[in-house]
């Protein structure tokens, strides 16, 4: 019965999101430019045109022949429980959006290998299932970026190249087989001081440009405990989502990371508990509820 109640709540949240997005899409639908007409990245300030979302909200069907990493279950195993959990996270995030506001979320964690990049990629795919949203997944971990590997995209050109002027944003934004999902990889990890690079005004301008061109931006960041990049990147985003790997990351480390983010006055939206172990009893109850 509890699962039925959860499903009803999710359906209600979906309806609320659709209602909010209907206003957003109505605004963006007036623009004749779609994602195909992305403006080129220029350092001079210019007026940002917001691409209108499509008039009709419906999920897209991702192509089956996109070869990505098996951990991207929202693409490889769409019917799985985990994929559904990512969709639920998507719903939660969309329900917190202010109608008409474009979102840029930083995904971070306390320590490396907690599942930031996998969460970012899966959330991006789940977001892109909402067909009218232009979604961008950008890898800001300039040291050990792994988003490109997950999507099996070439690392260069990436964010490092864009920020160092070796490539334009258009060159760095990779279109994916999912039409409304774009990916920017980290690029070559050859810069001596990535934190300085991310703290530059170019980065700020780049994020302004990105926010102008995409409805929803998911930023994959380094771990909080490792470098201070999160504080810089988080300030450019509308919110921060903390990924915590269950049964592995120590609680005091997570709390310390959280205090670090809060000391930077970042808007911490919430946390995602990753790598939860399936509870047998829970599934048994679920099966029982379904039979009823």
């Amino acid at each position: 019965m509890a699962r039925i109640a959860d499903a009803l709540k999710k359906a209600e949240a979906e309806r609320r999101v659709k209602a909010r997005l209907s206003g957003l899409t109505a605004d963006t639908a007036k623009s004749p430019r779609g994602i195909a007409e992305l403006p080129s990245f220029q350092w001079a300030p210019k007026k940002i045109d917001i691409a209108p979302p499509p008039a009709v909200v419906e999920s897209t069907s991702p192509p089956v022949d996109w070869d990505v990493h098996p951990s991207l279950v929202t693409m490889t195993d769409r019917g799985s429980t985990v994929a559904e959990q990512y969709r639920a996270a998507r719903t939660w995030l969309l329900s917190r959006l202010t109608p008409g506001q474009r979102s840029c979320l930083a995904i971070t964690s306390s320590v490396p290998r907690e599942g930031k990049s996998v969460t970012t990629a899966n959330l991006a795919i789940a977001m892109a299932e909402v067909r009218h949203l232009q979604v961008l997944a950008i890898d800001c971990d300039l040291r050990q970026g792994s988003l490109g590997k997950l999507f099996k995209l070439p690392a260069v050109p990436g964010l490092t190249e864009v920020l160092t002027g070796r490539a334009s944003l258009d060159e760095a934004v990779r279109r994916t087989p999912i039409g409304n999902l774009s990916v920017v990889t980290a690029g070559l990890a050859d810069h001596p001081n990535p934190t300085e690079l991310l703290s530059s005004t170019q980065t700020s301008r780049l994020f302004d440009e990105i926010r102008a061109r995409f409805h929803f931006v998911l930023v994959d960041t380094p771990a909080v405990q490792r470098v201070s990049d999160v504080g810089v990147i988080g300030s450019l985003c509308t919110g921060v989502v903390m990924v915590v790997r269950m049964h592995e990351t120590a609680a005091h480390v997570v709390r310390q990371s959280l205090r670090c983010l809060q000391s930077n006055n970042l808007n911490i939206l919430g946390c995602i508990a990753a790598a939860c172990r399936p509870d047998v009893d829970r599934y048994a109850d679920t099966a029982g509820d379904r039979e009823e």
């Binding site: 098996p70 951990s71 279950v73 429980t81 985990v82 959990q85 990512y86 639920a88 996270a89 939660w92 995030l93 599942g115 996998v118 969460t119 989502v241 903390m242 915590v244 790997r245 269950m246 049964h247 592995e248 990351t249 120590a250 609680a251 005091h252 997570v254 709390r255 959280l258 911490i268 939206l269 919430g270 946390c271 995602i272 508990a273 990753a274 790598a275 939860c276 172990r277 399936p278």
Partner: protein, 560 residues
């Protein structure tokens, strides 16, 4: 309708939660328990092979209370058994004795001896240590105790399995030998004592007997239990006195008739008597001859058959009677004619007759006086005898006691000599081995089952500790609710672990192959270590065999 909560619901719920958490911990951390459990158990079992073993042997001896000593008079002879019983433990555990025994057995092995046979200081120290170990490992226990015998169990526990049986055997034999020697010494002392007492009693009895003889010689008839010889002598003297008095009266009558002129009548009677039988023998003469012969036979018989001395009253009385008869015979005529005096003239006959009567009267008066004197002497002797009878009776009682005591000592001497003969021929009955020392098969301690159980318990404890430490050190978040409440930020979603094909394969390999194989290898190792530990503790002989031929471990276990 919602049921109101009962207080028990919460406790049941808490219990279920606690049990569920425990079950979850057990399931989640099972390998963290199994692997340390098997590993540590194996190490503990291997380490148990080096545990010092204690080997134990025992023997049972029966200790008899010597019946001879038990029945002997005097406290001195009843105490040795109790003394032997009391001193047994101290004598068995005596360090000097044990050291002597060990030295006799050339133990400890590889001891260094100087040319004069003395042990080097290091070897002497080792010997002392071994003796102390033996003394500490000796346990003496009474299996059966009674007034007449004890059944005693002697147990020796020590670390030297090769010599423990020999050492116990030597200690037992040494003790029995010493105890028997001591018993023999006691018996020798008893024999000396008995001999001294016998000699003393015999001497005392002889002295008393001599005093009795002297009193009996001095005072005939002093013994009230024997016939009084003076009584018969006095009686015969009284009778003789009466007869003599009657004869004296007759003689006096005859003299009176002679003096009064009745001579014609006396002569006429004599003539008539001659006419009646002139040639016939005198009857008096014949009677005296017969009496003399009889008295002579009695005297000979008394001297020879009855061993009477000349001083014996009977002999003296017979001699006196013989003399009297002989004197009368000399005066008595052999024929009646001679007795009648017919050959003389009447005047001569009267004169002769008067002279005879006068002589007879004098003789009779003399005899009567002697008779009275003898009777007075007997009376005087009886008065002295009665005065000495009390001392005689006292001496006789002393003699009886001395003889009784002598008989008691002599009664003990016979069995004592018999026991000593048995002891001298090494056939004493004071000690007997009921159960001999058996060869040791397995160590007495530590107990194999206890050691193996302890090893597994240590392994299990380490496994539990590992699980608990892991659980305590695991500060990660367990539940999404805990995460949210702990951090104070909203929980967006809890995402299950993503299991890719590679991850599943890796996990399968880990769970199905690596961990089970490791557990199987560890289990086999634990089994082998446990089997070796068991065999080393329960079947040391099989353990030595398996050490050189490991493939025989199953048959050894099966046989054990």
């Amino acid at each position: 309708m919602q049921q109101p909560h009962h207080i028990d619901d919460f406790s049941v719920s808490d219990l279920r939660h606690t049990l569920g958490e425990a079950f979850r911990v057990v399931c989640d951390r099972r390998w963290r328990f199994i692997l340390p459990f098997l590993g540590v158990s194996t190490l503990a079992l291997i380490a148990s092979l080096w545990l010092p073993r204690q080997w134990s042997v025992s023997t049972i001896i029966r200790r008899e209370h010597d019946p001879m000593l038990a029945s002997m008079v005097g406290k001195t002879w009843t105490e040795p058994y109790a003394d032997i019983r009391t001193r047994m433990a101290s004598e068995l555990s005596d360090m000097e004795t044990i050291q002597t025994i060990l030295r006799g057995m050339k133990l400890p092995e590889h001891g260094e001896y100087y040319s004069d046979g003395q042990l080097s200081p290091a070897s002497a120290t080792a010997e002392s240590a071994m003796a102390a170990e033996v003394a500490a490992g000796l346990v003496i226990k009474n299996v059966e105790t009674s007034a007449t015998r004890d059944v005693v169990s002697i147990r020796l526990t020590m670390g030297d399995s090769a010599h423990v049986a020999d050492i116990l055997r030597a200690i037992r034999d040494n003790y029995i030998s010493r105890a028997q020697r001591r018993t023999t010494e006691i018996l020798r002392g008893a024999e000396t004592f008995l001999q001294g007492e016998t000699t003393r009693c015999r001497g005392e009895a002889g002295s008393l007997q001599k005093q009795l003889f002297e009193l009996e010689a001095t005072y005939p008839g002093i013994n009230p239990d024997a016939v009084d010889p003076t009584q018969a002598a006095e009686t015969s003297l009284v009778v003789e006195g009466v007869q003599l008095a009657r004869k004296l009266d007759e003689v006096r009558d005859d003299l009176a008739r002679l003096d009064s002129g009745n001579e014609q009548a006396i002569v006429a009677s004599d003539v008539a008597a001659v006419a009646s039988g002139a040639a016939r023998p005198n009857p008096r003469y014949t009677s005296l001859m017969q009496d003399i012969e009889k008295i002579q036979r009695d005297i000979i018989e008394g001297r020879t058959m009855k061993m009477m001395t000349e001083q014996h009253p009977t002999i003296q009385r017979l001699v006196a009677s013989l003399e009297a008869k002989q004197s009368e015979l000399d005066r008595t005529p052999a024929t009646e004619a001679e007795a009648a005096g017919l050959q003389l003239t009447p005047t001569e006959r009267l004169t002769s007759r008067k002279a005879e009567l006068l002589a007879s009267r004098a003789s009779l008066e003399k005899k009567i006086a002697a008779n009275r004197e003898e009777r007075g002497r007997i009376e005087q002797s009886r008065t002295g005898m009665l005065q000495a009878r009390d001392s005689y009776l006292k001496i006789k009682a002393k003699l009886a006691r001395a003889n009784e005591e002598l008989a008691g000592w002599e009664q003990n001497m016979g069995p004592l000599k018999h026991v000593l003969t048995l002891e001298d021929s090494n056939r004493g009955i004071h000690f007997a081995t009921v159960r001999d020392v058996e060869s040791v098969v397995r160590p007495a301690s530590p107990d194999g089952r206890v050691v193996i159980g302890l090893c597994f318990a240590i392994g299990a404890a380490v496994g539990v500790v590992v699980v608990l430490v892991t659980e305590l050190l695991d500060r990660s978040f367990r539940t999404a609710q805990g995460l949210s409440s702990s951090l104070g930020i909203p929980l967006i979603e809890s995402i299950d672990e993503i299991l890719t094909a590679a991850a599943i394969r890796k996990r399968l390999i880990r769970r199905v192959v690596i961990l089970p194989v490791t557990a199987a290898v560890l289990t086999l190792t634990t089994f082998a270590a446990g089997a070796m530990a068991y065999l080393s503790l329960q079947q040391p002989a099989d353990y030595e065999t398996v050490k050189h031929s490991p493939h025989l471990i199953f048959s050894a276990l099966w046989n054990s």
